[in-house]
C-alpha cells in the first residue's frame, strides 16, 4: 500500500514536471515566433557592442612622449605579477651574498604633509597612514623588481609586505623611542622570513615568502617611503586629491649578518624624478650608528589609475534599457491583448506561468548580454590598445566573470522588469520604475552632483549595485586611492553587488506571484 502511494506520488510529480515543461515550451514558443522579441534581443546585443565600440573609439591616451618613446603613464613600471606598481623610496643598502639577515631598530617615524585640506596653504608635520620605514631585501634596485620587506607604518603597525600586492599584519601601535620596534628579515635560499620584536630579544615571525630565482647576491638594507596624502575633497562627485608627503625614520642597531666581509652602507633614492620638488628628494644622515632616512614615494601596487576591460562595456546600459523594455512587455503585452486570459486558462497554476516566463526571458537576455560582451570586450580592447591607452592586466578568470556577469546582469534585470510588469500590468510605469532603479543611480553617481558618501550608498542599496560584477580592477587595503565608480571601483564586491540585484528580483517575483494569484486577470 505504501509502495502504491509512493508510486502514485511519483507519478504525480512526473505529471507536474511534464506540465511545467509544457508551460516553459509555450513561453519559449511565444518569444521565438514573434519577430519583435527576436529583433529586440538582437538590438540589445548590438547596442551593447555599438556603444562600447563608440566610446572606445573616442578614448585616447594623454601621452605626450616623443614618437618611439614609452609613455610614462601607469604600466611603465610593473611588478612581478604584471600589475602596475609605484616603486620609489630611499634605500640604504649593502650587497648580501648567500644566506644571512638584516636587523634594525626603528625608534621614530615622523613626517611632513603638504597642503592638507584643513591647512590649504601650509606644510604641516604628520605621518600618512601608510608611510613605511623598515628593512628590505630585493634582487636588484630596478623599479618593479621582486622584494620582501618588514616595516613600521604610519598608523597600521608593523607589516610584512612582499611583491607589492601582499600585506601581512604584525604588532599594532605606533613607534617611538619609548616603544621602539625591532625588525628582521632573514634570507635562506629563496625564502625570506620576516620577524618583529618590541625589545630586541623576544622575536616573533610575521610571515615568509619564497621569491623564486633569487640571485646569490641580493641588495639588503633600510628603506623609507611615504605615499601621497589622498583625501576626498569635500566637494562632490568623487573629488579626490593627492598631495606630496615625506617621512623621516630613525634607525639604530643596524646589522647585516652574512658570510662575506662587512662593507659600507650606500644611500640613494630609487625612482627619483629628475627636477622634482626639493621635498621629494630625501636623504640620509648617519652618525654613530644612527641612520636618519627621509624620503617620499611608495612601494605598492598602483590603484585608481588607468583603465581596464570594463571601459569597453559602457554599452551595457543601453542593452539593459532594451531588455528592461522587453522584460516588461513580455507580460504587459499579454495583458493588453487579453492573451493573458488564454495563457492562464491553459495553465491555471499561475506561479508556474510566472516561473516559465522568468526562465525564458532570463535565459534569452543572458545570451544577448553574453554575446554582446564577448564581442565588444576583445574588439574594444584592441581599439583602446591601438589608441595607446594603458589597460590593467586582467586574469582570464576575471575576464570570464566580467563577460558572463554582463549576461547575468541583463538576465536578472529582465526578470526584475518582468516581475514589476506583472505587478503594475502597465508597460510605461513598469519600464520607468525599473530604469530609474537600475540606471539612474549610476547616472547620479558619475555626473558629479552628489557627495562621495551619498554616491556610495546609492550603489550599495539600489539594484545598480549589480554593476559591481563588471569591476575587474582590484582594490588594495594597503593603498589609499580614489576608488570611485568613474575609475571602475564599486563600493561592494562583485558578487555582493550582484546579490543585491538578485534580492530585488526575488522579492519582486514573490510579490508578483502573490498578486497574480490573488487578482483576476
Amino acid at each position: 500500500m505504501t509502495a502504491g502511494m509512493t508510486a502514485r506520488r511519483r507519478a504525480g510529480e512526473r505529471a507536474r514536471q511534464a506540465r511545467f515543461g509544457l508551460v516553459l515550451r509555450a513561453e519559449w514558443t511565444k518569444i521565438r515566433t514573434v519577430r519583435g522579441w527576436v529583433i529586440g534581443m538582437i538590438v540589445a546585443a548590438l547596442v551593447t557592442v555599438a556603444l562600447g565600440l563608440l566610446s572606445s573609439l573616442a578614448t585616447h591616451s594623454h601621452c605626450f612622449a616623443r614618437p618611439g618613446q614609452a609613455c610614462p603613464g601607469p604600466g611603465s613600471i610593473v611588478g612581478p605579477g604584471g600589475e602596475p606598481v609605484s616603486d620609489g623610496y630611499y634605500f640604504v643598502r649593502q650587497p648580501l651574498a648567500g644566506n644571512g639577515s638584516i636587523t634594525a631598530k626603528v625608534t621614530s617615524l615622523a613626517g611632513l604633509i603638504t597642503y592638507p585640506p584643513d591647512h590649504p596653504n601650509a606644510i604641516v608635520s604628520g605621518v600618512v597612514p601608510w608611510a613605511k620605514a623598515g628593512v628590505i631585501i630585493e634582487p636588484s634596485t630596478r623599479q618593479g623588481s621582486a622584494y620582501a620587506a618588514v616595516m613600521v607604518t604610519g598608523s597600521h603597525g608593523v607589516r610584512m609586505q612582499y611583491n607589492y600586492t601582499s600585506d601581512l599584519a604584525g604588532l599594532p601601535g605606533g613607534v617611538s623611542a619609548a616603544s621602539p620596534r625591532w625588525l628582521r628579515l632573514t634570507r635562506s635560499g629563496d625564502t625570506l622570513t620576516g620577524y618583529q620584536s618590541a625589545d630586541g630579544t623576544h622575536w616573533t615571525e610575521i610571515g615568509a615568502v619564497t621569491l623564486a630565482g633569487l640571485p646569490v647576491t641580493v641588495q639588503a638594507g633600510l628603506f623609507v617611503a611615504s605615499p601621497s596624502y589622498v583625501f576626498t575633497t569635500p566637494g562632490f562627485g568623487g573629488g579626490f586629491a593627492g598631495h606630496l608627503t615625506q617621512a623621516t625614520a630613525v634607525f639604530d642597531h643596524v646589522s647585516l649578518q652574512d658570510k662575506a666581509a662587512r662593507g659600507t652602507w650606500a644611500g640613494g633614492g630609487v625612482g627619483v624624478i629628475p627636477g622634482g620638488p626639493a621635498l621629494a628628494r630625501g636623504g640620509l644622515k648617519e652618525s654613530a650608528g644612527r641612520f636618519t632616512v627621509t624620503r617620499t614615494g611608495d612601494i605598492a601596487p598602483l590603484a585608481g589609475v588607468g583603465r581596464s576591460i570594463e571601459a569597453t562595456l559602457q554599452g551595457t546600459f543601453a542593452g539593459l534599457i532594451v531588455v528592461i523594455v522587453l522584460g516588461v512587455m513580455f507580460v504587459t503585452a499579454e495583458y493588453r491583448r487579453g492573451l493573458i486570459r488564454t495563457t492562464l486558462a491553459a495553465s491555471p497554476r499561475r506561479g508556474q506561468v510566472l516561473a516559465a516566463k522568468a526562465i525564458v526571458i532570463g535565459s534569452v537576455s543572458f545570451v544577448a548580454g553574453l554575446v554582446g560582451a564577448a564581442a565588444v570586450v576583445p574588439l574594444g580592447e584592441h581599439i583602446l590598445r591601438a589608441h595607446g591607452v594603458y589597460l590593467h592586466p586582467v586574469s582570464t578568470l576575471t575576464g570570464l566573470r566580467v563577460i558572463a556577469g554582463t549576461g547575468a546582469l541583463l538576465a536578472v534585470t529582465a526578470i526584475l522588469a518582468l516581475a514589476v510588469g506583472v505587478m503594475l500590468r502597465r508597460s510605461a510605469g513598469a519600464v520607468t520604475a525599473v530604469i530609474v532603479a537600475t540606471v539612474l543611480p549610476l547616472v547620479l553617481a558619475i555626473s558629479n552632483v552628489l557627495p562621495v558618501g551619498a554616491t556610495d550608498w546609492l550603489l550599495r542599496l539600489t539594484p545598480a549595485a549589480a554593476f559591481a560584477i563588471q569591476q575587474d580592477v582590484p582594490q588594495y587595503s594597503q593603498v589609499i586611492a580614489a576608488y570611485t565608480v568613474t575609475r571602475g571601483y564599486y563600493p561592494l564586491t562583485p558578487w555582493a553587488g550582484f546579490a543585491v540585484l538578485c534580492g530585488y528580483a526575488a522579492l519582486a517575483l514573490i510579490l508578483a506571484a502573490v498578486l497574480l494569484r490573488k487578482r483576476a486577470a
Binding site: P117, P234, A428, L440
Partner: protein
C-alpha cells in the same frame, strides 16, 4: 448662424479648436494615472533635492559647490515621471484603440497632437513649478544648517537672485520640453514601453557615455553641447558660467530643438500613417 460663427472662430484658434483642447483636457483629467504621476514627480523631485542638499560642508574647508544646481538635482529623477506621463498621453490611446475614436472625432491630426501638447505642457508647467519651488524651499531650509552659510559665500537661496531664478524657472521649462520630446517620440513609436525606453535611453545614456569618453575633449564637448539632458540641464548652473561648454539658455535651446524635431516627426508620421 451662431454655430457657423462659432466654427469659424474655432478654426482661427492656433490649436485647431478649443473643443479639441477641452476634449484632451477631459481625457487627461479623468484618468487616475495623471494625478499620481504628477504627484510622484513632485514628491520625488523635492525628496532627491532635499537629500542632495543635506550634504555637509565641514567647517574650515572650501566647498566648491553650485548650491542652486545641487538643490535642483531631483529634476533628473522627476523628468522620468514627466516623460512617462507624456508617453502615456498618446500611447495609451494606441493601446486601447481609443486613438481611432479620437481621430474620427478630430480628423485634423496635427491639431489633435497640438491640443495634447498644450494640455500636457500646461500640466507639466504647473507640476514643475510646484516641484522646483519645493526644492528651492528645501534648499533654503536645509543648506544653512549644513555649513552653507552667507558668511562663507553661500547666500540664502532665493528666487529674487537672478541666476537662481533663471535656474529654477529654466528647470520648469526643461521639464516641459522633456514632456514635448517624449510626446513626439511616443507619437512615432506608439508602443508605450518602447517609447519610454527610447526616451529614458536618450536622456540617461549621454552622461554615462560622457564619463566614458571623458579623456577625449572633442567627444566630451560634443556630448555636453548636443545631448538633450546634458545640454538642457546647463540651465541649472549658476557658478563657473565661463567654463560651461554651452551657455545656459543655449543649452535649453538645444533641448528645445530636440523637442521640436521629435514633435515634427510625430506630426509627419501621424499624417501619413494609418492609426
Amino acid at each position: 448662424m451662431t454655430e457657423t460663427l462659432g466654427r469659424r472662430g474655432a478654426s482661427r484658434c492656433p490649436f485647431g479648436s478649443t473643443r479639441a483642447l477641452h476634449a484632451e483636457w477631459t481625457k487627461v483629467r479623468t484618468v487616475a494615472g495623471t494625478f499620481w504621476l504628477l504627484a510622484a514627480a513632485i514628491a520625488l523631485t523635492v525628496t532627491v533635492g532635499a537629500a542632495a542638499a543635506a550634504t555637509r560642508c565641514p567647517a574650515g574647508l572650501a566647498c566648491p559647490v553650485d548650491t542652486a544646481r545641487l538643490t535642483l538635482t531631483g529634476v533628473q529623477l522627476g523628468q522620468a515621471l514627466i516623460a512617462t506621463l507624456a508617453v502615456l498621453v498618446i500611447s495609451s490611446e494606441y493601446s486601447t484603440g481609443m486613438i481611432r475614436i479620437t481621430l474620427t472625432a478630430m480628423p485634423r491630426r496635427p491639431a489633435m497632437l497640438a491640443a495634447k501638447a498644450v494640455v500636457l505642457v500646461g500640466l507639466v508647467l504647473a507640476a514643475g513649478a510646484v516641484a522646483v519651488a519645493g526644492s528651492v524651499l528645501a534648499g533654503r531650509v536645509i543648506l544653512p544648517g549644513h555649513g552653507f552659510t552667507a558668511a562663507r559665500g553661500f547666500p540664502l537661496e532665493s528666487l529674487a537672485d537672478g541666476p537662481t531664478l533663471r535656474a529654477a524657472a529654466g528647470s520648469v521649462l526643461y521639464l516641459a520640453l522633456i514632456a514635448l520630446l517624449s510626446l513626439g517620440i511616443a507619437t512615432v513609436v506608439r508602443d508605450s514601453a518602447v517609447a519610454i525606453g527610447v526616451v529614458l535611453g536618450l536622456l540617461y545614456l549621454s552622461p554615462i557615455i560622457l564619463s566614458a569618453v571623458a579623456g577625449d575633449p572633442v567627444w566630451s564637448h560634443r556630448l555636453e553641447r548636443y545631448a538633450p539632458m546634458n545640454a538642457g540641464l546647463t540651465i541649472q548652473d549658476t557658478t563657473g558660467l565661463h567654463g560651461l561648454p554651452i551657455s545656459p539658455w543655449g543649452g535649453l535651446g538645444v533641448l528645445a530643438a530636440w523637442a521640436a524635431a521629435a514633435m515634427l516627426a510625430g506630426v509627419l508620421v501621424l499624417r501619413w500613417r494609418d492609426a
